[in-house]
């Protein structure tokens, strides 16, 4: 599963930044095409729901999903072999 923010719905209230226990959502800096600063995702693969939802068969944390007033946060199925951005720490 993959965490996504629907840019067409997000109004940039940054409530998800406030509630995420992992700090995955970070306040954005750039305006999108609708003139709204949407949050950016910092290593979203750390999200427990991304990794373990299929294993447990239920929503695990999901606070951002419930608190989002614009219904913009969702988890979608990944396509097989989707390219990932990998950071190498030295």
């Amino acid at each position: 599963m993959k965490l996504v923010i629907d840019e067409s719905r997000c109004k940039g209230c940054n409530l998800c930044v406030l509630v995420c226990p992992y700090g995955i959502f970070q306040e954005g800096t750039e305006l999108n095409s609708r003139g709204i600063v949407t949050p950016v995702l910092d290593r979203p693969e750390r999200c427990t729901n991304c990794r373990l939802q299929a294993l447990y068969g239920r929503m695990l944390c999901g606070v951002c999903h419930i608190i989002c007033p614009d219904q913009a946060i969702a988890w979608v199925e990944e396509k097989p072999f989707e390219p990932h951005k990998v950071e190498v720490e030295f």
């Binding site: 109004k11 409530l15 406030l18 999903h65 419930i66 608190i67 219904q71 913009a72």
Partner: protein
């Protein structure tokens, strides 16, 4: 998105301002509805006038968008005519406490079997931030420019006194607890009243130094106190900090209810 088959996706994004808590309350209510396993054709959402009352417009069921303050009167009518329907009322503080106050206490007294979710944002948000009966003392609004001088209405206590079967109060920050409270209210026969303190950064926060959404949420979170703690503090005679409100389940009882599905 919670409960995707209950949302009118073509109507989204909704008209609420950035950071408005009403969207969160819709999420929690629909989460509870999904938990209850109700069918779409057996559920009716009723609302009055106000920001909060736009909520049924984003939900894919039959709904009534009624006159100002009369949501509970219409909902009582729906329940009396068709007791097999599940009735959920969305209303705001100006709708429920100000113009619909009498309907509210009499719906509580009659104990009509429905769930009332009141989104209390302490202000008349839609019309430009006029002071409502729940504006806390000292808060600045467009009609109370020197700070509200009157004491505020405590809607949950009012519902307890008027005789509702289930009364709870949460804030839009406590999403999991709120979902559980709405589900518990839906399971209880008789009137279930859930007051939700929500943030209104545009019209309440802007005048009260809580302009950012996070400030407003932090204000709600820090002023909420669990009922048990409040009762313990008052029993021990310790001082309760100024401006706190109780959150949690205030009452759950079994008074005879009206319009219960047999």
């Amino acid at each position: 998105m919670i409960a995707p088959d209950w949302f009118r996706e073509d109507r989204l994004p909704h008209i609420y301002c950035t950071g408005c808590g009403n969207g969160t309350v819709i999420n929690c209510t629909l989460g509870a509805v999904e938990e209850m396993g109700w069918k779409r054709e057996e559920t009716v959402f009723v609302s009055g006038i106000g920001c909060s009352s736009r909520a049924p417009g984003y939900i894919l069921t039959d709904s009534l968008h009624t006159t100002h303050g009369r949501a509970l009167a219409f909902a009582t009518g729906v329940k009396m005519a068709r007791p097999d329907l599940n009735v959920v009322v969305f209303t705001g503080d100006g709708d429920l406490a100000a113009i619909g106050g009498n309907h509210f206490i009499h719906a509580c007294r009659r104990n009509v079997d429905m769930t009332v979710v009141c989104m209390n944002n302490h202000i008349y948000g839609m019309t430009g931030g006029q002071g409502s009966p729940t504006t806390p003392p000292g808060a600045i609004s467009t009609t109370t420019p020197y700070g509200a001088s009157e004491p505020a209405f405590d809607l949950a206590e009012l519902a307890v006194a008027a005789g509702a079967n289930y009364v709870a109060r949460w804030t839009s920050y406590h999403v999991k607890e709120l979902t559980k409270a709405v589900a518990a209210g839906m399971q209880t026969p008789g009137l279930a009243f859930i007051e939700v303190r929500t943030q209104c950064p545009t019209n309440y926060g802007r005048h009260n130094k809580l302009r950012r959404v996070s400030d407003m949420i932090e204000h709600l979170r820090s002023h909420a106190m669990l009922v048990d703690k409040y009762n313990r503090l008052t029993a021990e005679g310790k001082p309760v900090p100024d401006g706190t409100f109780t959150v949690g389940e205030l009452v759950r009882r079994n008074r005879p209810a009206m319009g219960v599905k047999s």
